[in-house]
Symmetry: D3
Subunit: 134 residues, 6 copies
């Protein structure tokens, strides 16, 4: 097994543990257009970066939520990563605090739209609905 | 009554006059996630800033429409503030001119998407439809 | 015929050749709000710029796809210009490569959302569906 | 004289009245790279849009300041347009209010950086310094 | 003492503990332009939000660094908050990890420019240089 | 030699051919802060993506210039990639056309600031000056 296979396998396991349906959603999204992009996402995002030491996994996911809510144009990814942050130990209150912090530095609309994304994720979890975003 | 209550009450009255259903929509958006964010929005945005002297209310709302259309990722807020700008005296022509100005400085797609938001607001008003955006 | 009419006529012909339904969609979008913005879009975007020498038409459209995917908040325009790029000779693989390139410089969410826009356009073309975006 | 010459002449006069050294700065910026871009800026920005009715000149310049401060990456243009806004009648207090409004919708860093640009322009004017930005 | 004075005093103490020269820098920046903006920054950013429970201070500062590095156009604030994050307990390695995480979600240029800001802050601290950014 | 070493070696050679001083600049930028980020930039940006088939090298660099000029907050990278685009065969006129195209889709300030970056690169090349940007 080559290192490249290693990175992919390691990434795939990391992503699957976080969100069992994510690899399939990612493949469906990219299969007809850019299959290598799904592979790179898994290799780089989840094989190289996700498991790096130096920062605990919960803080890393919370940082990702802050980055995506700041970008403001990545709604599917924001919802996925809010769900992932909860899965690795962030509380709903901690997600909410990210949005409050956002209001100071990126403005109230970004904070309110991030809050709305969180509200949708929390409601879906409470309804025991299977994840539909990515 | 403390000053903090003052800021909230003053903000709530300002926001309610502008858009009677906005406080409830804001509360619904944030209630389960970040109730303090709704309070801060009202205290800071509508208690501290909204009524400041130095700029008339119509110009202030038009500036807000320009800011939100430039951000380009705050569609619900853009629609609300277009409606609010009309309520405090901006004409539909003035809203349109904001979008024309945007075409020079933020590009044609931002201008066209802002125009589309305005078109939706104007159509809803003409249909006498109750506001559904926030 | 004045030069201004010339620019408009030239732009209209260019845009119509690229996407026969675009002028009407553009007019519908702006008619009640900012009709001059439709005219400026056609005069400047398609009369002045579109046909400039110095860069071939396919490369020009691919650059536009890259710009719009980077902005990240112009989904209707992104879909239109992916379709236009295909029409002037870009292959689906070339569209996909734009998104891969985007992953390095604008991040994976921008790349994945651009890929999703491409997927929607390709699927609509395969279904022989009439264009509905703009 | 053709209409295209008209647009350019009209734009050049408008821009020169606003800022006598701007056309030369613009030409110097683009001469070796993209001379047509200077022409388009003058034709479209100052020939077509600048003098449109429907919004008074002061409000139009204040909107431009709001758009540029929101973009956050156009410092030379922001400084120029703050100066232009003052020239067509905006007060320093009104410029300041744009930045306060920005704090709500685009965040405090954007507002503080816009304030800093205004501070630089005001100081240069007070020092009677010739304009150096564009 | 009113609640408004309370918020300001509390904010001022928080900010001063974090960065003793920040209040004066902020006042100097805004004094001639928008003094209320300095007051709001202190009241809202440091009086209302900074000390909220629910998230520890180090994580809160790291989130702010992530937000500012994502915005990409707030260099003075980014340098200040990197320094503040170190002051409340973040390690240099943790700052670096924020930038690595940024490379996945906001692209390599944002990550490299954030890294450069961190490098400047670390170098200034090592040189025992007094802070000059804000 | 492992695949990971392969990706790094391949990326390093690609980057060095394009810009002989870039690897050292990149290392200097990241050495004290985030050395892995330099490695990832080389592995992913220049090992995985740079040499992909499907798009010729000149078009790929031109797309990168368009992406960076649109982001608007990555000035050092924009200058580097303009230089790289010239090196792989883009003409100065083609770089200029990217900026003209930008004026339609991202606005005139982005186009003018991109033009200014190009002007600086062209002037440095004409002066036979060693590259100082990165």
């Amino acid at each position: 097994m080559s290192d490249s296979d290693d990175r992919y396998q390691r990434g795939l396991e990391n992503l699957s543990q976080l969100d069992a349906s994510a690899p399939e959603r990612l493949a469906r999204l990219t299969a007809e257009v850019a299959p290598d992009l799904a592979r790179y996402t898994i290799e780089y995002g989840y094989g190289d970066v996700f498991n790096r030491p130096g920062i605990d996994r919960k803080t890393r996911q919370m940082l990702t939520v802050a980055i995506l809510a700041t970008l403001g144009n990545a709604a599917p990814q924001l919802r996925s990563h809010i769900r992932n942050a909860l899965k690795v130990g962030a509380s709903r209150e901690e997600i909410a605090e990210i949005m409050v912090q956002l209001s100071v530095y990126a403005g109230f609309p970004a904070a309110l739209n991030g809050t709305n994304a969180a509200r949708e994720v929390f409601a879906a979890l409470d309804a025991d609905a299977p994840s539909e975003s990515d």
